[in-house]
C-alpha cells in the first residue's frame, strides 16, 4: 500500500479561504482588542437570538402564541409552531416586560423570585435585558437599513448629476448635520409621538447624512474610472450607469462603516428613551430601564445601596454593548485605513 503521501500544505483557493488569509483579515485577527470586540458583539447576537427560549414569557405573550399554562414550555420545542412564531414572527406583546407583581418599589432577586430583581412597578429586569438585546438589534439594523437607503439615493444622485443638484443636496446634508443628532431626533419623536417605529424614523432621519457624504465621495471617485466612460460611450442611460456600474463598486466601504454604526445608533435610541421619548412604557428597552433606576438612587435609611440592581445591570449591559461595537469599529477602521498599508 504505497499511497502517495498527502501534500503537507493544501493551498486554499476558495473565495472564503482567500478572504481568511488576506492581509487585512490577518491584521484583524492579530489584534486582541478586535477579537474581544467581536466576541462581545457575537455574544449579544446570541443573546438576542435565544432570549425567547431562556426567559419566562409573560401572560399576554403566551396568549398571543396560543400557549396555556399546561403547554407553557411548548415554545422551546422546535417541532411546535409556537417556537417558529416566537423566533420569526414575534408578537408585539412579547416585547413587553412581564411584571412580577405591581409593587411600586423595586424588589431584589430573592424577594421577587426573578433572576436579577425587578424595577419599580414590578418589571422583570432579566427579561428586559435579554429581550432588550433583540430590541437593540432590531433598532440598529432597521435604522442602518433606512438610513443607508436614503443616504445612497441622495449621495449617488448628487455625485452623478453634479452641478446645482449636487450643491442643493449636499448643502441640505450640511444643514441636517449641523443640528445635534439628539436634538433633531427629540423634535421628530415629539412631533410623531412615542413609539418604537417613530423612534427608528427619528434616528434614521439623523443618520443618513454621513452615509450620503460617503457614497458621494465614492461615486465621484469611481465616476472618473475608464470603464464608466466606456459605459457612457456605449450609450447607457445615466441611472443605468449609476445603479449597474458605479454603485455596486462604491457600496462596500459604506456598508461596513454603516454596519459599525449600530452601536452608536442603539446608544442614541437608548438616550432618547432614557429621556422618555422612546417606545411605550414597559417595552423591553435598555434606555427605559435606566430611566426607571433614576428614582431609586437613594436606598431606605441605613441601606444606601438597597436598589443597586436597578441601575447596575441595565448600565452594565449598555456599556458592554457599546464597548463591543467600539472595539470592533476601531479595529475595522484600522484595517481599512489605507495609510497603514504603506
Amino acid at each position: 500500500m504505497d499511497a502517495a503521501p498527502a501534500p503537507k500544505f493544501v493551498e486554499r483557493k476558495t473565495a472564503l479561504g482567500r478572504w481568511w488569509q488576506s492581509k487585512s483579515l490577518r491584521r484583524f485577527r492579530r489584534n486582541p482588542l478586535a477579537i474581544v470586540g467581536l466576541v462581545i458583539v457575537a455574544s449579544f447576537v446570541v443573546i438576542a437570538t435565544i432570549a425567547p427560549l431562556v426567559t419566562p414569557l409573560g401572560r399576554s405573550c403566551m396568549r398571543d402564541l396560543g400557549l396555556t399554562a399546561a403547554t407553557a414550555d411548548a415554545h422551546r420545542d422546535v417541532r411546535n409552531a409556537a417556537f417558529w412564531q416566537l423566533m420569526f414572527r414575534t408578537p408585539d406583546s412579547c416585547y413587553m416586560m412581564p411584571r412580577a407583581g405591581f409593587s411600586p418599589i423595586p424588589q431584589s432577586a430573592e424577594a421577587s423570585g426573578t433572576l436579577l430583581g425587578t424595577t419599580s412597578q414590578g418589571y422583570d429586569i432579566y427579561y428586559g435585558l435579554m429581550w432588550g438585546a433583540r430590541t437593540a438589534f432590531r433598532i440598529g439594523v432597521l435604522v442602518v437599513g433606512i438610513g443607508l437607503t436614503v443616504g445612497i439615493l441622495i449621495g449617488a444622485t448628487a455625485a452623478y448629476l453634479g452641478g446645482w443638484v449636487d450643491n442643493v443636496l449636499m448643502r441640505f446634508t450640511d444643514v441636517v448635520i449641523a443640528v445635534p443628532a439628539l436634538v433633531l431626533a427629540l423634535v421628530i419623536v415629539m412631533v410623531l409621538g412615542n413609539s418604537i417605529v417613530n423612534l427608528m424614523i427619528a434616528i434614521a432621519a439623523v443618520a443618513w447624512p454621513s452615509y450620503a457624504r460617503l457614497v458621494r465621495g465614492e461615486v465621484l471617485r469611481i465616476k472618473q474610472l475608464e470603464y464608466v466612460t466606456g459605459a457612457q460611450a456605449m450609450g447607457r442611460r445615466s441611472f443605468g450607469i449609476v445603479f449597474r456600474h458605479i454603485l455596486p463598486n462604491a457600496i462596500g466601504p459604506v456598508l461596513i462603516v454603516a454596519s459599525l454604526d449600530i452601536g452608536s445608533i442603539v446608544l442614541t435610541a437608548a438616550a432618547l428613551s432614557f429621556l422618555g421619548l422612546g417606545p411605550e412604557l414597559g417595552y423591553t428597552d435598555w434606555g427605559q430601564m435606566i430611566s426607571f433606576a433614576r428614582n431609586w438612587i437613594l436606598g431606605p435609611p441605613g441601606q444606601p445601596l438597597a436598589y443597586w440592581y436597578t441601575s447596575f445591570w441595565p448600565g452594565l449591559t449598555i456599556v458592554m454593548f457599546v464597548l463591543g461595537w467600539n472595539l470592533l469599529g476601531d479595529a475595522f477602521r484600522d484595517v481599512l485605513d489605507v495609510r497603514g498599508h504603506v
Binding site: V191, A293, R294
Partner: protein
C-alpha cells in the same frame, strides 16, 4: 484669510434657513390646533384656539406660515413656553448662563486631560502610561452619559453622600432669594464671589463636580485617542527626524514640530466635541436635575411643549454653526496651507 472667513460666514444664513425650513415642515405634521398650543399662555385660553389659529394664520400653506414664523422670529417671538410659564426667549436668556457654566467647566478637562494624556501616551508609546491611557480611553468612550451619571449618583450621592444633584443647596437658595444677592453674570460661582460669598461659590462648585465629570468623560476620551494617534503619526514624519538629526532637544522637537502638527486633527474633532457636549448637556442636566437649557428642553419635549423644543433646536443649530466657524478660523491659524490654499 479674510475671504476664507467670509466664505465660511456665508454658511451661517444658509444653515439657519435650512434648519428653520426643516422645523416648519416638521410642524406641518401637526394639526393647526396643536400648532396653536405654542402660543397659549394659560388654560383659560383653551377655548380661544380658533382665534389663535386665525391670529397667527396657522392654517395657511406652509410657505406662508414659514414667512410669518420667520417674521415673528425676527421680532424675538419664539412662542410661549408652557414648561417654564414665560416666553421662550426669556427662558433661553435666563438658562443660557447656567448651561454655559457647566459646559465651559467641562471643556477644561476635555482639552486639558484629553490633550495632556494623549500626548503623554504617544510620547511613551507602548509604555505603562500608554497602556493605561488606552484602556481608560476605550472605557471612557464606551460609557454612555446617562449610565455614567446614574452610577456616579449611586456612589457619590447614595452611598457616600458627598455631592447632591441640583444647582445649589436649599439653604443657600433661600438666602439668595431673600437676601440682597445680586446676579451679575448668571454664572453662579462667579456671582457668589462677586457678592463676597465664598460659601455659596463652594456649594455651587460642589454641585458642579459630578455633572462636569459626566459631561466631560466621553469627549475627553475621544480627544485623548485622536491626540495620541495623530501625535504618533507626526512623530514618524520626516521633518521630525530631520529636526532630531539637527540636534534639537527632544522637548523642542516634540512641542514645536510634532505636537503643533498633531493638533490639526484635534481641532477638526473639537467641532464634533461641541455637538457631543450639546447632546450630553440634555442628558446630564436631566440626570442631575440641573436647571439649564438641556433639562428644560427634555422636560418640554415630554410636555409636548413645541415652542420650547423648537426654540432650543434653533439655538443649538446656530451655536454649532458659529462654533464650526470658529474651528475653521482656528484651523486657518494653525495650518497655513488652508489660509493660502
Amino acid at each position: 484669510m479674510f475671504t476664507f472667513i467670509l466664505r465660511r460666514l456665508m454658511m451661517l444664513p444658509l444653515v439657519f434657513f435650512g434648519v428653520t425650513i426643516i422645523i416648519v415642515l416638521l410642524m406641518q405634521l401637526l394639526t393647526p390646533a396643536q400648532r396653536a398650543a405654542a402660543y397659549i399662555r394659560s388654560e383659560n385660553q383653551a377655548n380661544q384656539i380658533p382665534e389663535i389659529i386665525r391670529q397667527y394664520r396657522l392654517d395657511e400653506p406652509w410657505y406662508v406660515q414659514y414667512g410669518l414664523w420667520i417674521g415673528r422670529l425676527a421680532d424675538g417671538d419664539l412662542g410661549y413656553s408652557r414648561t417654564t410659564n414665560e416666553p421662550v426667549l426669556t427662558t433661553l436668556r435666563k438658562r443660557l448662563p447656567t448651561t454655559a457654566e457647566l459646559a465651559l467647566l467641562a471643556i477644561l478637562p476635555v482639552v486639558g486631560v484629553g490633550i495632556f494624556l494623549g500626548t503623554m501616551a504617544a510620547l511613551n508609546r507602548d509604555g505603562v502610561i500608554d497602556q493605561v491611557v488606552r484602556v481608560l480611553s476605550i472605557f471612557g468612550w464606551s460609557i454612555p452619559t446617562f449610565v455614567m451619571g446614574i452610577w456616579l449618583l449611586v456612589i457619590f450621592y447614595g452611598l457616600l453622600g458627598w455631592f447632591q444633584p441640583g444647582r445649589i443647596s436649599t439653604e443657600f437658595a433661600i438666602q439668595m432669594a431673600t437676601g440682597d444677592f445680586r446676579n451679575y453674570t448668571g454664572f453662579l460661582t462667579l456671582d457668589a464671589l462677586l457678592n463676597g460669598r465664598l460659601d455659596i461659590a463652594l456649594d455651587a462648585l460642589r454641585h458642579l463636580v459630578l455633572p462636569v465629570i459626566t459631561l466631560a468623560t466621553v469627549s475627553s476620551a475621544q480627544i485623548m485617542r485622536v491626540m495620541r494617534s495623530s501625535l504618533l503619526d507626526a512623530l514618524s514624519e520626516d521633518y521630525v527626524r530631520t529636526a532630531r538629526a539637527k540636534g534639537l532637544r527632544a522637548r523642542v522637537v516634540n512641542r514645536k514640530h510634532a505636537r503643533r502638527n498633531a493638533l490639526i486633527p484635534v481641532i477638526t474633532l473639537s467641532g464634533f466635541v461641541l455637538i457631543g457636549l450639546i447632546n450630553g448637556v440634555v442628558i446630564t442636566e436631566t440626570i442631575f436635575n440641573y436647571p439649564g437649557l438641556g433639562q428644560w428642553a427634555a422636560r418640554a419635549a415630554l410636555n409636548l411643549d413645541y415652542a420650547s423644543v423648537l426654540g432650543f433646536a434653533i439655538f443649538t443649530a446656530v451655536t454649532v454653526v458659529a462654533a464650526n466657524l470658529l474651528v475653521d478660523v482656528l484651523y486657518g491659524i494653525v495650518d497655513p496651507r488652508i489660509r493660502y490654499g
